[in-house]
Every structure is written in structure tokens, then in C-alpha cells.
């Protein structure tokens, strides 16, 4: 850690770079170019890639994770993190599966999914925002607790027998090749984009991430904003769980294992500062596309899932390390 007390002398240019070169240096533009490049490479690598239906299938690689990613982005910008999202999904799915055995219909299942997600988020929020505990450990704890409850309920068994109409959320299509999940992804992107970039609440999130003390002194109810962010993350995990459960048609306690890693990776890849304070929703959308395209491309090339997870891990470290190496190389010059 470079904790030397003298900050690096900031280089202030005589004039700003041209708008075009500034735009080109933006992280989002870079991501867009990467996504486009992967798209082109994939379409050459496999003849099956450019089929609209297979592209539509590819969107399932990122839609559920991105829904969580949007909420997670807000949370990380505010300087917190939620590692329990995958466990919230497991618990939500277990609750829905349990409700099916009691004869619940599709509307009840959706309501249960959202309420359980909300409750898990409220629990995290209460511990972090209410009691002032560090979110990393709290959510490591709840990660164990929520999935642990699923294990207690399910053990080595599985729930299935979801009603036929429930399958729509994970397998239905709104129009032509556009799946319900893709539509939900688009709506979520829009809602979270507006929330973060166009509302006072969104500004408050940035302020809290940059300086929580200053935020408090400027009249922002920091604890309340953080609590709401945990609620949002819980709800989005619940919704993602509804989609995933509907798509798989069954619930095991190990469902969605490791999703928290992919959601955090997506957010960081999207240019959100892991230490809080900066980041955008369009960046996360592009990161979702990049990750989806890459996993789909690997899938077409028959690369096993665990090798993809190596790639995700490298991506997570790489996207943080590269800009820092780059900045260091420039400082030397």
C-alpha cells in the first residue's frame, strides 16, 4: 500500500484535451469497443453465433446476474458490498419451492420471491446501516446463514413441480426472440440508471461513497440510504432468483453458487471503483454484455464452466490491476 503522506503532485494540464479524445478515453467507450470486438471474433469463431435465437439464448448468461449487478453497483458506489446475494437467491428459491409443496400458485410464488429477498436485504441493512457493522463480514456471515437455512430445509433433496405458468419468467418471450428476462434486464437498467444518474438519491449515493462523514454533515441520512440500498439488492436478488428458479424448474440448496463473485466482477468490470465513489450504470450494462458474450463464446467452443470461472477471476483482478499498472507506467515517464 502506498500510504506515504505526500500525495502525488497532481499534473494539471494547460488546457483540456479535445472532447473526442476525452470521450475515447472513457471506460464505457473502451468496454463498448471490447464488446464489439468479441462480437466480431465470436461470429468468425463459430457459424452458430449470429443466429438470432442462439444470441437470444446467450442473453441468459448475464440477465439474472446483471439485475443483481445494478443494485450491487449502487451499493459498491456507496462504499459497501453485499457478498450474500447468491445465498439470498438460494433462500428465496427454497422459500418458493416450499410454497409450491403447500400448493401456491404463480402470483403467490412471485410475491414470496420478492418478500423473501426484501427480508434478507432488510436483515443485511439492519446489521450494516442500523448497527454500523462492516458490510464485508456481515454479508460473509449472512452468506453462510441464508444458504445454511436452505440446506437445513432441503438437505440433499430438491424442490421441483413448479406450476407451468411459472415457467414464463425464465423461459417466456415478450416478442420474437426477446425473452422476458431480457426485457426485465432492460427495464432494470433504465430504472437503476435514472435512479443513480438523475435523482437526488443517486447523488447522495456518490457523496456517501466519496466521504460518508461529509455526507452526514451535508444533511444526507447516510444510514437510511445504505439501508435502502441493501433492500434494493435484496429485492433484485429475489427477482433474479424468480427468473433462475423458473428457468431451471427446480431448487437445490447449491443453486446460484458463486453468483456473488460474478456480480461483483461485472460491477468492477463496468468501471465502478471497488472503494466506492464512482461508476455508472451504462458501464455495468456494457460489462454485462462483455461477460455474456465471452461466456457464450467459450460455451460455443466447448470450454468447461470451471475454466470460464478462471477467466472471470482473472478478469476481476485484471480490470483493476491494468489501469493501476498503466497509471504507474505513465507516472514514471
Amino acid at each position: 500500500m502506498s500510504l506515504s503522506d505526500t500525495p502525488h503532485a497532481r499534473h494539471i494540464p494547460d488546457r483540456l484535451a479535445s472532447p473526442l479524445s476525452r470521450a475515447l478515453k472513457r471506460w464505457e467507450v473502451l468496454l463498448f469497443l471490447v464488446a464489439a470486438a468479441i462480437f466480431v471474433i465470436n461470429s468468425f469463431a463459430s457459424p452458430y453465433f449470429l443466429d438470432p435465437w442462439s444470441l437470444s439464448d446467450a442473453t441468459y448468461n448475464f440477465t439474472e446476474k446483471a439485475m443483481i449487478g445494478f443494485a450491487m453497483a449502487l451499493l459498491i458506489i456507496a462504499g459497501e458490498i453485499d457478498l450474500s446475494v447468491a445465498s439470498i437467491m438460494a433462500l428465496t428459491s427454497t422459500a418458493m419451492g416450499f410454497a409450491v409443496t403447500l400448493g401456491a400458485g404463480t402470483p403467490e410464488l412471485v410475491a414470496i420471491g420478492i418478500v423473501v429477498g426484501l427480508a434478507c436485504g432488510a436483515f443485511n441493512g439492519m446489521l450494516v446501516a442500523g448497527m454500523g457493522l462492516p458490510s464485508i463480514v456481515v454479508t460473509i456471515g449472512t452468506m453462510s446463514l441464508f444458504r445454511g437455512i436452505s440446506y437445513i430445509v432441503l438437505g440433499d433433496k430438491a424442490y421441483n413441480g413448479y406450476p407451468a405458468s411459472f415457467a414464463y419468467f425464465g423461459q417466456g418471450y415478450v416478442w420474437w426472440v426477446f425473452s422476458f428476462e431480457l426485457a426485465l434486464f432492460a427495464v432494470a437498467a433504465l430504472v437503476f440508471g435514472v435512479l443513480l444518474h438523475r435523482t437526488n438519491f443517486g447523488r447522495a449515493i456518490y457523496v456517501i461513497g466519496n466521504n460518508p462523514v461529509a455526507a452526514l454533515f451535508s444533511g444526507i441520512r447516510v444510514a437510511r440510504v445504505k439501508f435502502i440500498l441493501f433492500l434494493l439488492t435484496g429485492v433484485m436478488s429475489g427477482i433474479a432468483s424468480i427468473c433462475l428458479t423458473s428457468r431451471l424448474g427446480s431448487t437445490r440448496p447449491s443453486i446460484a453458487l458463486g453468483t456473488e463473485l460474478e456480480a461483483v466482477t461485472m460491477v468492477v468490470l463496468g468501471g465502478v471503483n471497488i472503494l466506492g465513489g464512482s461508476g455508472t450504470i451504462p458501464g455495468v450494462v456494457l460489462a454485462a454484455l462483455v461477460m455474456g458474450l465471452v461466456t457464450f463464446g467459450f460455451g460455443l467452443l466447448n470450454v468447461p464452466g470451471i475454466v470460464m470461472s478462471i477467466f472471470i477471476g482473472l478478469l476481476l483482478i485484471g480490470v483493476i490491476a491494468l489501469p493501476r499498472l498503466w497509471a504507474r507506467a505513465r507516472r514514471r515517464r
Binding site: M1, S2, L3, S4, D5, I81, L127, M131, G132, L133, P134, I136, V137, V138, I140, G141, T142, M143, S144, L145, F146, R147, G148, I149, Y151, I152, L154, G155, D156, P253, G258, L261, V264, T265, V268, I274, L275, P304, I306, V307, S309, I310, I312, G313, L314, L316, I317, I320, A321, R324, L325
Partner: protein
């Protein structure tokens, strides 16, 4: 004396004894010396890793890749055994490999200033993936391992298996390292106040790097012990064990914010979880409860840690502040 009684170590020790006593009322066989030795042996891996994790947490970092490091080193140990490498070479080699994997974490934290949680979340999946790559997803099981490889951790020596003695040895080494060496002091200094540590001439990044190397080396050693004890190596061994390790530390009163904790606390935290894990089947509760119990214990422990920190207060120079 009152400080001793209200310390986290004393509370935990009493809690463990009460727990054992309650179990003993219904199931006297649980407190038979042989069974207690068995519980300790079963918890040895957790004790070793909890101490390793403690070194990292003291420096304000966290190592989530500790179980993946264990699994990778365990797989490499098993593969070396299959290839005919003698045991005397395997053990130092896996410790070295573990230290190397820890050094990767440490370098990323030290040289690139990447938050430890992100680094180790990433290396956690990478190391697991590498196990798949080197093993091709296959299991190495009982019949493929040599007898010497499997029997070493189980060999009895002065009433306890070598596995237990290894844990005891690590505890002793840690007690000396943490309490009696400059490196141990610098762990606390770095975690307690990194800026002040810089002023006292401590290289913060290097200290964190060393903590990761120690953590990796111990995970490597445990990797061999684990694989040899259970006589199987595959991609998912010790899956999720990093959570138990962090739980043991948090329960043991090691502050996740760094700079506070003790060897005794980590050991007792591990024993607390170990006793629960071994008691569950005895009192007839499904082992599937283990995960939720660990989670609850983590949450309760942080809540207790935080409330204790609040009431006591850590401001040493209150009067000086008012004068100024």
C-alpha cells in the same frame, strides 16, 4: 483479574466448557478423553488455518482464497505422490507452493494496491480452476495414494496423531511469532493504524505481503494433511471452508478492521466451531445445520465485538485532546 474474566478468551473458553458439559449430561461418551482428542484432531485443520487467517486479518486484509490454496496444494501433493515423489520432499514442496500462491495475493495487494477482498475473491476461483486444469476434473482416491502418504498425519505419537501435534506446533510458533517478534508487532501496528506504522518505519505493504505468504504456506501444509487424512483429492475439497476459517477468527474476537486479536482467541474460536460440528451428529441434528450455525455465530460475534468496542472506547489521549 476482572480484565481476565471479561476477556473474549475467557468468555469463549467458558462457553465451550458449558457447551461440552451440557452435551455430557445427555451423552457422557462425548467427554471421554479419546473422543475429546478426536474432536481436537478433527479441528486441527481449522485451528491452523484460523491462525493463518488471523495473521492476514490483523494487517487489515482478508484471505478468501485460503481454502482454494489448500485444495490446490492438496491436489498437487496427491499428484506428486502418485508420480512417486517421496513424502519428505512433498511436504516442503507443498508448503513452498502454498507460500507462492500466498505471495501472488500479497504482491497484488502490496504492489498494485488492489483491495484484498477483490484479490482473494479472484484468486479463490482461479486456484480452484487450476485444480481442474491440472487434474482434468478427476479424483485421486485411496488406492492411488501410497500407504506412507496417507498414514503420516494419522500416526500416533505420544497419545495424539501427528495431525494434532502439527496444530499444537503451529499454535506455539504463532504464539512466539505474534507475541515475541518484531514481525508480530508490525502485524498489529499495520492493522491498528497504517499511517502511524509508516511513521515508525514499518513497510505496510511488505508486512501485508508477509502475512499472505504465511497464510499461503500454512494452507499448503494443511492441503497435504487434509488430502492424506481423508485419502481423497478432487476439485471441491474444503469447498467453502474459507467461511469457517473467517468465522473462527471473528468468533475468536479478531477484529475484522485489523490490529486487534490474539492467538488464544483464534484457537478458541476454531475449537468453538469444532465442538459444535462434532456435537451435532451426537445430539442427533443433521449436519446440514452446520452452515447456518456458522453464519449465525459470525453475525453474533461481530455484533458482540462492535458493542464491546463501543462501550469501552479506545481513546487513550482523551485528556490531551481536551487540553489542546
Amino acid at each position: 483479574m476482572t480484565r481476565l474474566l471479561t476477556s473474549r478468551e475467557a468468555q469463549l473458553g467458558v462457553a465451550i466448557l458449558v457447551m461440552i458439559a451440557l452435551i455430557a449430561v445427555r451423552f457422557p461418551a462425548f467427554v471421554a478423553p479419546a473422543n475429546l482428542a478426536n474432536v481436537f484432531n478433527d479441528t486441527s485443520a481449522l485451528i491452523i488455518l484460523a491462525l493463518a487467517q488471523m495473521a492476514v486479518i490483523l494487517t487489515k486484509c482478508i484471505d478468501l482464497s485460503i481454502a482454494a490454496t489448500l485444495a490446490l496444494c492438496g491436489m498437487v501433493a496427491a499428484m506428486m505422490n502418485v508420480a512417486g515423489v517421496p513424502l519428505a520432499a512433498i511436504i516442503p514442496l507443498v508448503i513452498l507452493l502454498g507460500a507462492g500462491l500466498g505471495a501472488v495475493n500479497g504482491l497484488l495487494v502490496w504492489k498494485l494496491d488492489i483491495p484484498p477482498i477483490v484479490v482473494t475473491l479472484g484468486t479463490m476461483t482461479i486456484y480452484r480452476g487450476v485444480i481442474f486444469l491440472i487434474s482434468g476434473g478427476k479424483w485421486i482416491n485411496d488406492q492411488q495414494m501410497s500407504a506412507a502418504f496417507k498414514s503420516f498425519p494419522r500416526a500416533d505419537f505420544l497419545f495424539l496423531p501427528v495431525l494434532s501435534w502439527t496444530a499444537i506446533l503451529v499454535v506455539v510458533v504463532f504464539a512466539v511469532l505474534i507475541g515475541r517478534t518484531p514481525l508480530g508487532r508490525s502485524f498489529f501496528a499495520v492493522g491498528g493504524n497504517p499511517h502511524a506504522a509508516v511513521y515508525t518505519g514499518i513497510n505496510v505493504g511488505r508486512t501485508q505481503f508477509l502475512a499472505f505468504v504465511i497464510s499461503g504456506a500454512l494452507a499448503g501444509l494443511t492441503g497435504y494433511l487434509w488430502v492424506a487424512r481423508y485419502a481423497v483429492a478432487y476439485v471441491d475439497i474444503a469447498g467453502g471452508f474459507e467461511l469457517d476459517v473467517v468465522a473462527a477468527c471473528v468468533i475468536g474476537g479478531i477484529s475484522i478492521a485489523g490490529g486487534a486479536g490474539s492467538v488464544g482467541g483464534a484457537v478458541l474460536g476454531a475449537l468453538f466451531l469444532g465442538v459444535i460440528k462434532n456435537a451435532l451428529p451426537v445430539i442427533g441434528i443433521s449436519p446440514f445445520w452446520q452452515m447456518a450455525i456458522s453464519g449465525t455465530a459470525i453475525i453474533l460475534a461481530i455484533a458482540v465485538n462492535a458493542s464491546q468496542g463501543r462501550t469501552k472506547g479506545r481513546v487513550i489521549l482523551k485528556s490531551a485532546e481536551h487540553v489542546a
